[in-house]
């Protein structure tokens, strides 16, 4: 290490951070980055990546440890001082004002003034200058809300660069991108590297890390377990040291044997509250024993479709039948009583009540049923036993069934949600972004459970923005673009990522006959 110290543009030493709930996110973590490299920071969810970066960017204050920039110790108390030190961060969720133009977003906080008034022309000029310098293609006068995700991300990156960022933190930048956009991003990152910028790249996608990163730091359980040249490690090596054991990276499943129709969607259309069409004439069938994937760039109607299929959005045109029962006017409880379940996209908002115990979070869909109550009182013993069983079976890491669920890590919270929704043996289940933001170990587990559920005879709809996941886990899949089905693949084996990308971006569309094959019962 010692001989390299001079090259290290950034060194974080013995960082320890304890959260108010007692969770130790970083335990004496050491992290160093050399000038002009792309440095991958990987680890399972809850391993401490985000915390470490929040400490670096001044969002969190460490309880011990120090930060050295170019060999000098610095105190970073808040994001603005981080920016002053030349550290920029692109968050996973964009921090942009959608109704403003690109140029206005770019200069936010450093607005050029013309006497006392905002100088829009100057802002446009500044944006064009920085875009040209880094060879980014962007329209400064476009409104952010009209931009595709990839462009929004560019705005975020340029924003940091305009403020003089030398070290750029990218938090899972490719999670929301199509393959084409990812390729474009990587070209740009290489350009930045050439110009001497240092990039910290947080990702769960090992393939991308192999492709673009120079060195890697792996965190596990709040500790740093190693630093290496990416070249020296295989994907398998990386994931093993992330999890601390052997992980099965590929999804293992047998051939699907679809049986009868469980879900039939016909001519489904819906508008949002502003009157904009978000689903347009969508029809498909899902059969028992198959995993039916819905792919697409986020915001093309998948979330709304999920809400309709689970009863959260009661107003729509067309018909949705589950086992032949029209759900248009059914309450969510009635829909659930058709033996359906739902792993929601936003688990913290819909999937749990944070302050309530794990035990009570596990029975929210069934607590009212006869078998859980006896002469007016809940059957405490039975509920306890069931909770213990689920915690054990779904490998939930916790202090016990009475622990408030908010104290668990993201992956373990998702396991509780999955335990509740899967243990009711549903005939139909909608799994929405099942592995978003959870670690490799939990991801592997959740995927296995989905396949197991399929083999037990459930009809499964899988919505995922993770292209790899939706292609490998699904038996058949559709691609959605602007509220319509633009492609149907009865078999997912022979699809290439490139092909998928073209459909996702709306460049290509299948013929109505090809798409019509998704209806099995004419």
């Amino acid at each position: 290490m010692a001989e390299n110290v001079a090259d290290n543009v950034l060194v974080m030493e013995n960082i320890t951070k304890v959260y108010p709930n007692g969770f130790v996110a970083n335990k004496n973590v050491n992290f160093s980055v050399r000038k002009g490299e792309i440095h991958a920071l990987v680890g399972e969810n809850g391993a401490g990546k985000s915390t470490l970066m929040k400490v670096l960017f001044g969002i969190e204050t460490p309880d011990s440890g120090r930060i050295l920039l170019n060999g000098k110790e610095v105190q970073i108390h808040n994001p603005s001082s981080a920016i002053k030190y030349g550290i920029g961060m692109v968050h996973q969720h964009f921090m942009l004002a959608p109704s403003l133009t690109v140029a206005e977003n770019m200069v936010m906080g450093i607005e050029p003034k013309n006497m006392f008034l905002f100088d829009f022309a100057k802002a446009v000029q500044m944006t064009e200058d920085v875009a040209k310098k880094y060879n980014f293609d962007i329209d400064p006068k476009a409104h952010v809300k009209d931009l595709p995700v990839g462009q929004k991300q560019k705005v975020e990156i340029l924003k940091a660069l305009m403020r003089g960022a030398q070290i750029l933190i990218l938090d899972e930048p490719t999670a929301v991108l199509t393959p084409q956009e990812t390729t474009e991003l990587f070209v740009q990152l290489k350009e930045l590297k050439k110009q001497g910028h240092t990039i910290i790249f947080i990702s769960h996608k090992l393939r991308e890390i192999k492709e673009i990163c120079d060195r890697i730091t792996i965190l596990r359980d709040g500790r740093s377990v190693g630093e290496a040249d990416v070249k020296e490690l295989s994907e398998q090596d990386i994931s093993n040291s992330m999890v601390g054991r052997n992980v099965v990276l590929d999804i293992q499943k047998t051939e699907a044997h679809p049986a009868e129709n469980i879900l039939s969607v016909r001519e489904l259309s819906a508008v949002n509250k502003f009157g904009k069409t978000i689903l347009n004439n969508v029809s498909f069938d899902v059969r028992r024993g198959e995993i039916f994937g819905i792919a697409g760039v986020e915001g093309n109607g998948q979330s709304e479709l999920a809400e309709i299929l689970t009863g959260l959005r009661p107003y729509f045109n067309g018909s949705v039948k589950i086992k032949g029962v029209e759900i248009q006017n059914l309450s969510i409880r009635k829909i659930r009583e058709l033996k359906t379940s739902h792993v929601p996209e936003d688990r913290m908002t819909f999937g749990i009540a944070g302050d309530v115990s794990i035990k009570e979070n596990l029975i929210s869909d069934r607590f009212y049923k006869k078998e859980y109550n006896h002469s007016g009182l809940q059957k405490a013993k039975m509920i306890n036993e069931e909770a213990d069983r689920n915690i054990k079976e779904y490998l939930v890491k916790c202090d016990g069934r009475e622990q408030p669920i908010r104290m668990l890590s993201g992956g373990n919270i998702q396991k509780v949600v999955v335990a509740r929704e899967f243990s009711s043996n549903p005939d139909f289940i909608l799994v929405d972004q099942p592995t978003r933001g959870i670690d490799v170990g939990a991801t592997e587990f959740v995927r296995k459970q989905i396949v197991k559920l399929r083999d037990q005879g459930s009809a499964i709809v899988l919505i995922s923005a993770d292209l790899n996941e939706v292609m490998e886990l699904s038996d058949s899949l559709i691609v959605m673009y602007e509220g319509e089905i633009v492609a149907y693949f009865p078999d997912t084996k022979n699809i290439t990522e490139k092909e998928m990308g073209e459909y996702m971006l709306g460049i290509k569309k299948m013929s109505p006959e090809e798409i019509g094959d998704v209806i099995h019962e004419k």
Binding site: L312, T349, G354, P404
Partner: protein, 362 residues
């Protein structure tokens, strides 16, 4: 926490909550004592009556228990509604109408004893339910903010009650605005001689147990708590959020109404309330002190009753006004409701504990 062993974070949080309540009470008492020292010419005398007055005679202690009864009902009523995240202030009006309803049955119909009292109590509960239901339904149907509608509604309840009292129940021979006197069959008997402590204390304690069971051991209580914690989650799980919100306010209204009925039938011989009794609002303080948990409501109610009676005795025996209690209440509420109070200390405790855990692991 000197011992080396580490705890789960939950244990620390629980302990810390208790500690925080104690510190808040301690600080507020200390401020009150300082104020008394300043305000009084004989501070020690005033303090003596304030702190020890309530237990110096049986009669005084009786006063504490008398006050304990309506405060417990008020606290329970608010706790049930707060657990569902509904800030329905109509508990105050329900308390008032509950008293009125009980008086109407007591004066208006003839029945054998015990049954008469029971029917009057139930009538009081029913009156309470009707009032609390109004903001609940407005909220569920039209998303009208229940805080605003219920506060306004309290005045409607008051003047409606005054109208009934003056045009239907009033005894012209009473010499003041009051109903005809209650027959013995409807009254709640005094159980401790030479005090006013009546059967209502048993009713209150039974209601504490029932409310606890309702909230923590039944499916309805479960639905109320889940809805209160996260409405989206409740909805997603298939819980009827609207009906649950209404249910919590039916339960809250019934408790407040029954509290009013108990108070009127236990403490008075005639119904003569011409202003709101205030026990519903006191219920807010009590519920906050008890963390909305029925288990702790009696403790909080007793504490507040003790302070009130102490302050009252002090004002009669010394030169300090009873309003000191309001200061104590205000400080306690601010310190307990202020979530960040002692937060740094808590964080330090947790950091230390976690570091111990890390060491144990290593």
């Amino acid at each position: 926490m000197k011992n080396k062993q580490s705890y789960s974070s939950k244990t620390i949080e629980n302990r810390f909550e208790i500690f925080r309540v104690i510190v808040a009470i301690g600080i507020s008492l200390l401020v009150a004592l300082l104020l008394i020292m300043f305000a009084s010419k004989q501070p020690l005398n005033a303090l003596k009556w304030f702190l020890a007055g309530p237990i110096m005679t049986m009669r005084n202690f009786g006063n504490v228990l008398e006050l304990f009864i309506p405060l417990t009902f008020g606290g329970l009523s608010i706790a049930v509604m707060f657990q569902c995240n509904q800030f329905n202030m109509a508990a105050e009006g329900s308390f008032f109408l509950g008293g009125l309803g009980a008086a109407m049955i007591a004066v208006g119909v003839k029945m054998p004893s015990v049954i008469h009292a029971v029917v009057a109590l139930l009538a009081g509960a029913l009156f309470g339910v009707v009032l609390c239901l109004i903001p609940a339904i407005l909220k569920v149907k039209w998303k009208a903010n229940e805080v605003v509608s219920s506060l306004m509604l309290n005045y409607i309840a008051l003047f409606f009650g005054s109208y009934i009292l003056q045009y239907m129940l009033m005894d012209p021979d009473a010499g003041y605005i009051a109903s005809h006197s209650f027959p013995k069959s409807a009254r709640l008997a005094v159980i401790i001689p030479k005090t006013g402590v009546h059967m209502g204390i048993f009713i209150a304690i039974v209601m504490v147990v029932l409310t606890y069971l309702f909230l923590y051991r039944t499916k309805w209580g479960y639905a109320i708590r889940i809805t209160g914690q996260n409405e989206n989650f409740a909805k997603y799980s298939g819980i009827g959020v609207g009906s649950t919100i209404i249910l919590s306010q039916i339960a809250g209204g019934a408790l407040a109404g029954m509290g009013g009925a108990t108070q009127v039938l236990g403490m008075y011989t005639r119904f003569s309330w011409v202003s709101l009794p205030g026990y519903g609002f006191d219920g807010i303080i009590i519920s906050i002190l008890a963390k909305n948990n029925p288990k702790f409501i009696p403790l909080a109610a007793f504490f507040l009753a003790y302070l009130r009676v102490g302050a009252d005795i002090m004002s009669r025996r010394s030169d300090v006004a009873p309003e000191v209690v309001s200061i104590i209440q205000a400080i306690i509420v601010v310190l307990i409701a202020g979530k960040m109070f002692l937060d740094t200390y808590k964080h330090k405790m947790i950091v230390k504990n976690s570091q111990r855990q890390v060491k144990e692991e290593a």
